[in-house]
Symmetry: C2
Subunit: 156 residues, 2 copies
DNA sequence: TATTTTCAGTTGCAATTTGAAACTTAATTT
DNA sequence: AAATTAAGTTTCAAATTGCAACTGAAAATA
């Protein structure tokens, strides 16, 4: 609820980003939306990392306050809400890619998930643009018929 | 000392990176070394964000355990140690740049610090390579006579 | 319609982490 | 020899985390 930790520690942009995102869950939620197409509380709960319900609740409202995600009523089920990433949230794509690249390089066991990316013969900016458009249109990188991977396969 | 939190939550490379770096201090230490040329405990303490001594101590030993920094005796003062970034730590440069870019975009007040970067007419990979070499040689981005900014100025 | 199940979130509580300040020990400076 | 500086450690209160049980509303089932 009341949102704590809104004080900027310094005027450094890296520090500012970490003020908002410097914990081990926030970016995973953004990842889940963009890559796995997750949209509801229950879907976030099922991720491998096993976030606790109260932490999830806290992070979702914080991300909403910050303006990285939007919450809206689910059209088909009034118990649920729909969480979607904003443009500002999509601006984190390069951060996610670099974190992913670093992790995959330094713990190769984790690299399987995204070999597709390094395989893709595509300008990085174009790829990011494609992902943005896909997600804006309700899709995601990995899931759904209009997933980014499907689109890329179709193009080949 | 005993280093807790070494269990990987999942096989996702982003999650893995956050297992190691998902807090609000670790990346700031790497930033201080690379950008501000800080090398000693006392220098890290003076950063604007105001890290506490015990947290700093904890993070330095963790970063060393992970292999992102090296610790060695200070040649001129046996009370001090010298902390230097490793190649794996330098691999975080793209992450730092993207976090910086995101922060500067979404909180323009923090952008002053790095306008120099956006101004630089230089291939991004080349810039990163220049920074790596500079830091490997004991320099940093902003400080010292062989700083990256000095080198860039000389080139113009 | 009545009952059961599902869903999102909250609450309570123990364990861990954080943060500030005082303290320790060794080395350097005066 | 005495005072100062440096890197950490210790102590303790406050905040955060994580787990499990609970709640209330809506949906599904019988």
């Amino acid at each position: 609820m009341h949102n704590s930790k809104l004080r900027r520690r310094s005027n450094c942009p890296i520090s500012f980003s970490l003020d908002l995102l410097g914990d081990s869950w926030s970016l995973l939620i953004i990842r889940d939306i963009i890559f796995a197409g997750k949209k509801t509380f229950g879907e976030f709960l099922t991720s491998d990392e096993g976030i606790a319900r109260n932490i999830l609740s806290n992070r979702l409202s914080r991300l909403e306050t910050i303006g990285l995600i939007n919450k809206s009523p689910h059209p088909d089920d009034r118990r649920k809400d729909l969480y979607e990433v904003t443009e500002a949230g999509l601006d984190l794509l390069p951060v996610l890619f670099e974190l992913s690249g670093w992790g995959a390089k330094h713990e190769p066991e984790t690299a399987d998930t995204l070999t597709w990316l390094t395989d893709v013969q595509m300008n990085k900016d174009s790829l990011i643009q494609l992902i943005r458009q896909t997600v804006i249109n309700g899709g995601s990188v990995f899931t759904g018929s209009e997933s980014v991977i499907n689109q890329l396969e179709r193009r080949q």
